[in-house]
Amino acid sequence: MNSEKIFKYLLVSSGVLMVLIALGIVATLFVGSIPSFKEFGFGFLFSTEWDPTEGRETYGALPFIIGTLLTSILALIITFPFAFSISLFLGEYFKDGALPSFLRSVVDLLAGIPSVVYGLWGFYALKPLVAELGLNAQGFGIFTSSVILAIMIIPYASSLGAEVISMVPGSLKEAAYSLGATRFEVVRNVIVPNAGSGIFAGYILALGRAIGETMAVTMLIGNSNNMPTGIFDLGNTMASLIANQFGEAEGLKYTALIEIGLILFVITGIVNYIGKLIMKKLSA
């Protein structure tokens, strides 16, 4: 066998291995959650009861599904104006030079900070601030977690956007300028329509990251297993619940947590799929 062939086989086998691992994860989650599904059925998705007390164990995922969606979507909304400005700044207004490259490194650095460090900063700096502003009594809750998540996902939302904005063909922009368009009009009518799908892809990536984030959220959300009543209330997310409760879980609770993991997996899959659909529509 020549090295050409070996290389090809290596590529194919590692590709196949990835698919097998992904399928394996789905299979184990699925098998693990069967006992819980048998006990609660589809009601698991809509029940707000999470009562682990022996003798009257009931588990429902709704507070955690809501908590996860609420924190991550709120984070995306908060992050949008910042991420979009950074994308435009780096992709269109100031492509080269010392300041943009500095800004780019700082944004990349945000992506490299471990999430537990974000959690720590949130706990000691952001939480007291939220309490001081009187948004809620202790500073913990869904809103605080969303702010931390928003900061964490800025790099994901902005770097892809900057990339595609800088790739908008110069001829298009020049044509618009020659027709007398202002810079803002160029951004609105040429750049955004052209780079839209790429910018959007960045936000989907960021949303996916926010949905799965665990440690920073656990440290700030208050870990209350009751249904949240608003964005300043305490809550819990699926990822945070699993991280918290898995160590001691046995029996029914163990499989209920695996089912939560499966739901998380499915939700992430759906978000990515919707993202792909919208991207297709935008680029068509």
Binding site: S3, E49, W50, D51, P52, T53, E54, G55, R56, F123, Y124, K127, P128, A137, Q138, G139, F140, T218, M219, G222, N223, S224, N225, N226, L234, N236, A243, N244, Q245, G247, E248, A249, E250, K253
Partner: protein, 356 residues
């Protein structure tokens, strides 16, 4: 390229040889010498275990590793037969014992207290009756200057501040001890919340682990929560004295925790100490246990491995190790409990034959 290939082959060859060497050793497992003793479980007594296992390793030259993965994790690890012993703050009830693949023994190792720790401006010393505990932790008393708190604490300046309850968001033996106590003193608690390692809390903030709860309390004015005493003392957080069954307000201390263990102990050592009858006993005290299989020949363990495990646990209940308990704010086992623990260890067998 040639050189790379050569290197690659060499690496594989070495790896193969190493793995063959291992399987060769495994065949003689039943009479191999013990190299490490592995345990896992509760985090509540972990400061104590870390301390004594380290000195055991130093003195006897036998490596003891302990993983603080939680009581439930400890029980599961023992069930999966991947550890020499597990550790739990809650003894296995009859149903859980029946779920285990073989007979499991409990050996108590020390006594600990769960304290009600709080963060109030000026660090006042507070007293709590069981009724106050129920009111605060069930969210019925919402403000620190509530008349019910003031009635029990005359002369203490109580601020007009919201009470923030802090509890364990992860399943925990500490939660079990606390809720076991609450269920004994409050029928409403027993009906609505109950006793367990994880609960359905009506109010409050969840934080992860004893350190997490301690940190959240010390960072949040007006907070109150329950933690293993070691964690409160280490961080200098004030703790409440709690009225016991005899009507006395008792602060958690080595003496008051020891006093709570004065009562009778069954032969299998499974006993709850909360809401003790002892007049000078702290009411939220508990033993913490190591758990192990009665028949030690499982999963290809060698006779030496079994003997070394028993030797280690015997040492844990010996005076030499017990005197370390107070240094990390636990209480040593009373003599009666040590005798019971030794009797339990005497039942351990290897291939059906007594080990001692």
């Amino acid at each position: 390229m040639k050189k790379l290939q050569l290197l690659f082959t060499a690496v594989i060859a070495v790896a193969l040889m190493a793995s063959c060497g291992n399987t060769g050793k495994d065949k003689t497992a039943s009479n191999k010498k013990a190299k490490t003793i592995t345990g896992a479980g509760a985090t509540f007594p972990q400061p104590f275990y870390n301390k004594i296992f380290k000195s055991y390793t130093k003195e006897k030259g036998l490596l003891v590793t302990y993983g603080g993965i939680g009581s439930g994790g400890g029980i599961r690890s023992l069930k999966d037969k991947i550890v020499d012993f597990g550790a739990s703050d809650a003894f296995l009830n009859d149903k859980k014992l029946a779920d285990m693949p073989a007979e499991v023994l409990h050996v108590p190792t020390c006594l600990g207290a769960v304290v009600a720790a709080y963060n109030l401006p000026g660090k006042p010393e507070l007293k709590f009756t069981p009724e106050l505990m129920e009111g605060v932790f069930m969210g019925k008393i919402k403000k620190w200057n509530d008349a019910k708190i003031a009635a029990v604490n005359p002369g203490v300046k109580l601020p007009d501040m919201e009470i923030t309850v802090v509890y364990r968001s992860d399943g925990s033996g500490t939660t079990f001890i606390f809720s076991d106590y609450m269920s004994k003193v409050s029928t409403e608690w027993k009906e609505k919340i109950g006793a367990g390692k994880a609960l359905k809390w009506p109010v409050g903030i969840g934080a992860k682990g004893n350190p997490g709860v301690a940190g959240t309390i010390s960072q949040t004015e007006g907070a109150i929560g329950y933690i293993g005493s070691e964690y409160a003392f280490a961080m200098g957080i004030p703790v409440a004295s709690i009225q016991n069954k005899a009507g006395n307000f008792i602060l958690p201390s080595v003496e008051s925790v020891s006093a709570s263990a004065k009562g009778e102990m069954p032969a299998d050592t499974r006993v709850s100490l909360t809401n003790t009858d002892a007049a000078d006993g702290y009411p939220i005290s508990s033993f913490t246990w190591l758990i192990l299989y009665k028949e030690q020949n499982y999963n290809d363990r060698s006779a030496d491995q079994a003997a070394q495990t028993i030797k280690l646990i015997e040492w844990v209940v010996s005076p030499e190790a017990q005197k370390e308990t107070t240094k990390v704010h636990y209480a040593p086992l009373p003599e009666a409990a040590v005798a019971k623990a030794k009797a339990v260890l005497g039942k351990v067998t290897y291939n059906g034959k007594a080990l001692k």
